[in-house]
Amino acid sequence: MRSPAHRGVRPIAATATASAVLALAGVPALASTASAVDEGGKHILKVAYSSTIDTFNPFVSIYLTPTGINRMVYENLVQYSAKDGSPIPGLAESWDTSKDGKTWTFHIRPGMKWSDGQPITSADPQWTYTQMMTNEAMSQANGSLVTNFAKVSAPDPDTLVITMKEGTAVNPGIEIPVVPKHVWSKLKNPAKFDNSKDVVGSGPYVLESYKPSQQVVLKPNPNFWRGKPKMDGVTYVNFKNGDAAVQGLKAGTIDLIGGLEVPQFDALKDAKGVTVNSGSGRRFTGLGLNPGATTKDGTPMGDGNPVLKDPVVRRAIRQAINIPALMDKMLQGHGTLATSFVPAVFPQWHWHPDKSKLATYEPDAANAALDQAGYKKGPDGIRLGKDGKPIVLRLLGDNSDSTDKQMADYIMPWLKKIGIKVDLQMSDGDAISVDLQKANYDMYFTGWSLGSDPDFQLGINTCSALPVKPNGEGGTSMDFWCDKKFDKLYEEQHAELDQGKREQIVQKMLAMHYNAAPSIDFWYGDSLEAYRSDHVAGMIKMPKKGGMLTGQSGYWAVWGAHPANAQDVKKAESASNPTGSAGNDDGGGMGGGAWAGIIAAAVVVLGGGGFLASKKKKPADDRE
């Protein structure tokens, strides 16, 4: 329909300019074989995107693409490490925590500048956080991250002190983009600012221009504290269709593409100049159930089927679905079976119970459980609810996502076997979002991307995340599930400063969630992606071992990217294997000094919180 808009940029042989750029960047200046060079002799990294862009205003934006781009534009106070997502210095070069975890003091690295040359001081994060704490419109996207903030002060330009209401082990400096006070404080209505042109930032690249449904252009920030990035720019090119983007990659007009389907991934394995990567994803996929939604004060809301209030039914649904077989069909080996909503890429938080505690595909056991709970089968084999009506559950699916329909094709007959009829309702993502907010659903396909600390995701499973009003306003709850015992554990882990003990509490919480089954978590899908290894090299995976390049919760892949030289191409070719490890993720992209700095910094890190980079209720994959 709408034609994919991409620039007519052709890769041509490396030029003298290209070599000069390489030399300047401190990379061995070997002659490139072919490079992402445009007419002006510039090396532009071209990334395909297909998902929604709501706005580039970091206080409002919730979609995956714009929040991902803002990770390039704004350096956080504390960054996630590429290695495992643990907190490492960002704008703050170090930090101290008081014993009770209530006072966090951050030491801002002196001498840093915004992309327009103005100095970065503690006044910038102070202004940013205070806005989110005091102005409701500014807290739309990340407000939940500052609810525990009591006061933020900047005693001197290099020091920022955050006083928490409750002691916490989670570093409060992560995830929130820090904006330049000298730009944003002059705006009349900062929450309405679309922030899409000549943006002043502190990250490796800053946003230069944006054409809706066409492209987003980023240019390098020479003042980035880790040093000027090595590409001459990054352009996000919009594609409405995955196959078209794949053709773009094959033709060399696109350098990096994520979110591939398995057939596309397999077809690209053998393409010349292309390296594929199946990175462990930080996203879970599952089936969300409506466990009887209520508001905070207990007023029932939505029109969920009352039968799902019974955990016996929810657990029976889990037993009726052959999850390993479904994953085999849907992902063909590119995924890991889920135990809970915390993906296995975060081994310290991921729930790893004894196998005997996990349900398996047992429709007979599910039938027996339902019989025992008093759900008798009607004449047509469909069970009757306590109100005597046949159990028909609506399943909401997103039409723009082919996997929803395919999964529904399996789930419907499986649930029929245990006497539950499914009414599949396919519509579009926006319509589903509205229904989810109002709890007008029985089942839907859910999925969230998690950050390296599960605090946020656990938080949205507590009672305090339930909506204030019956229309869903004021709520961020994952599945409208609420259990006071879970809340108590949440408070405990939040305040627990000992990493080992905190991990144990989180394990207990995930076990509780599993038994209550407000959502049935299927798997953690790998991120299937491909890039032109003859154009670009040095992109850093996150996590560094077996991680992904697109959809990271940091700027590592794009920051590390540099034009490929002959050596990179050779390396990529020799390493071009099914797992797609290109062999250039071993630090070749960054100067040795930079890495030493990062590692040293990581060692300095106190306390154990990484944090989340979680995100909003799905329906579609494009929400971060």
């Binding site: 995955g242 196959d243 057939p263 052959n322 996502d401 082919s402 395919q406 399996y410 007959p413 579009d428």
Partner: protein, 282 residues
Amino acid sequence: MAQVWREFRRSRSGVAGLVILLVVVALALLAPVIAPDRLLDVTQLLDNPINHPPTWQFPLGTDPSGRSVLVVLLWGARVSLLVGVVATVISMVIGTTVGMAAGHFGGWTGAALMRVIDFFLVLPSLVLAIVLASVLSRSVWTVILAIGITSWAGTARVVRSQTLTVDARPYIERAWALGAGHGHVIRKHVLPAVMPLVMANTTLTVGSAIIAEATLSFLGLGDTSKQSWGTMLKLALDSGAATGGFWWFILPPGVAIVIVVLAFTLVGRAFEAVINPSLRER
């Protein structure tokens, strides 16, 4: 009737089209017998390879869920033909009624009806169908309604002009003189006279209705819980079949649409030639 058949038989392409149609309709009706619906239940096909090229077991290969493409194609014919035919019937009923009324009554009523027809004629029918399909709830009937409501205007114009010529004939004047009312004239004289034209138009419209169904389903606006040729193409697009080179999943629904639409067109043209001798080969 016998004479119509004799004339029709003389058109070799028309007969060929008719034979193809009869075969396709028979296959679609017999789909539950030839390929029981358990062959569509993906939970019973867990051992089938997915996206597999044609073999003896799967003459047209398998789709991304491991179903035999041939089985899906057979079942898809049911929805595609159902939508094509029923939507056309709706379109013909509206088109004939409005066309006859516009031609017969003339004057102010006729002019008003003509403007309504013109309105639907200039409106891009695909856009209107997309709007209807997305506003109404998702089901096969929504698609049928969306296509039926947007495709009648052309028929109405043709029927109106035929009504005008019939109305001007001397025997109609005689009927008026003998005291016939509007109802009598329309039912006994105008309708039989426009009917052959409507029939020919019907067979031609079915083809475009089938394409419209495929288009709407391909755009994700159809009933995705039912197999149709359009939903097959949508699944092929969404699952990366083009990049993967799975021609056995992309070609069959496309070729099936072409064959059936061609058959309807051949029959329609032959029928048109029967009722309008000036179209016959000289």
